[in-house]
Subunit: 221 residues, 2 copies
Amino acid sequence: MSEHTAPTKERILEAAGEIFGQRGFKDATIRAIAQAAEVNIAAINYHFRDKEGLYGAVLEEVFHIGFTRFPATLGLDTNIDPEQRLRAFIRAMFFRLLSREGWGGIAGRGRLIARELLAPSPAFEAVLDRYIKPHKDLLVTIIIEIMGVNPGPEKLMSCAISIIGQCIYYAMASPVIRKISTDNAPTEENLDRLAEFVWLFSLGGIAKIKDATLSPVKETV
Amino acid sequence: MSEHTAPTKERILEAAGEIFGQRGFKDATIRAIAQAAEVNIAAINYHFRDKEGLYGAVLEEVFHIGFTRFPATLGLDTNIDPEQRLRAFIRAMFFRLLSREGWGGIAGRGRLIARELLAPSPAFEAVLDRYIKPHKDLLVTIIIEIMGVNPGPEKLMSCAISIIGQCIYYAMASPVIRKISTDNAPTEENLDRLAEFVWLFSLGGIAKIKDATLSPVKETV
DNA sequence: AGGAAAATAAAACATTTGTTTGAAACTGGC
DNA sequence: GCCAGTTTCAAACAAATGTTTTATTTTCCT
């Protein structure tokens, strides 16, 4: 086995990330992963105990790499204006989720995260506390600064969901998006433009929510 | 079998929608569906040929019911102002996707649609042409009217994706959202408020995009 | 060099699962 | 009342799949 560059355990993680992302937990078979990693089937159980153990290891590794390579604060100082920090936050999400350098877009691991949101696995709980909650808190902080006022936790959370939802929808629905509009498919060369759009759209949304909070109007319908 | 209210075929469709939505195609077993429908396993193959045939029938029925009971134009006239039509459009999406009357929220069929976006099945192609594309076209029409100008197909599509993405994200990520914030979980009693928020946020987003289109600014970073 | 521990390999096992089969029960028309 | 067609049922089948077993090879410390 000295013909391989990476050791067995890493090759398994690599192949498993790809195949779990493409097919989902149930549809991904140990045999397919073993074949892709050029590894004996039993090696998977040896290194990761069972299929679920392997999945947990993949999930942890995927999040770690993604948030390490594309931190939400993309090298920006805290004293830079909050609009630009939101811009960096959104760009980081797009590139983390969809770029080849990140979770690999369509064919790759971005969809593994989408699957977790849809149906969290037992291994997701840890990832939620370690990565997602702090990530959300950072976004909320940025939104407060942009608004200049604090509209309360409920509206803040709604804003955060609207922003994150736009980003993740691109990763999640990319198969369908590219069937409807190639211009807006989240391909490598479109990521910059799409991130810029979502940033502007979200700035407008935040401004509108601020207005509505400061001067609530009675409904007419 | 005369003790059942609905005929076998309908009971199977009913149970299959529930279970496919909860577990996904692969993870849902014929046996679980048969048991839930109180039907013999072979009855499924008899009425729907095979598992894939059943899934196709479920998908078609789910979309038909959803768009029939919650049309995107929710009884509004075309000459009403476009902001209110957007409001109706978004409300319809929320209630179609998440209400008990619609695709049944968390435990139900809303997630079946989310799964299709993530990994379209062969049966999805037909649904795409019949329901989703016209639905998108309607939204684009509304956005044009709100803007008062036509920013071009690319920006229009981006707006549509941002709006639809927010709605679908609630349906898709509801398991995680409710773990982070119960106030913003898309439960029956929250739907009105969430739809209202997404509407406002989107109005702000559209306005901002219109501004940026009319007076583009050079980037400073 | 020797030997214990770690790693890899091939084969077999036990379950799960979609599908088929052939018989039984039911339905509606004559 | 009876029969052809339809529907339901229990059992069996065949394929796929996660896991275990046992043997062999490799690694690494003394």
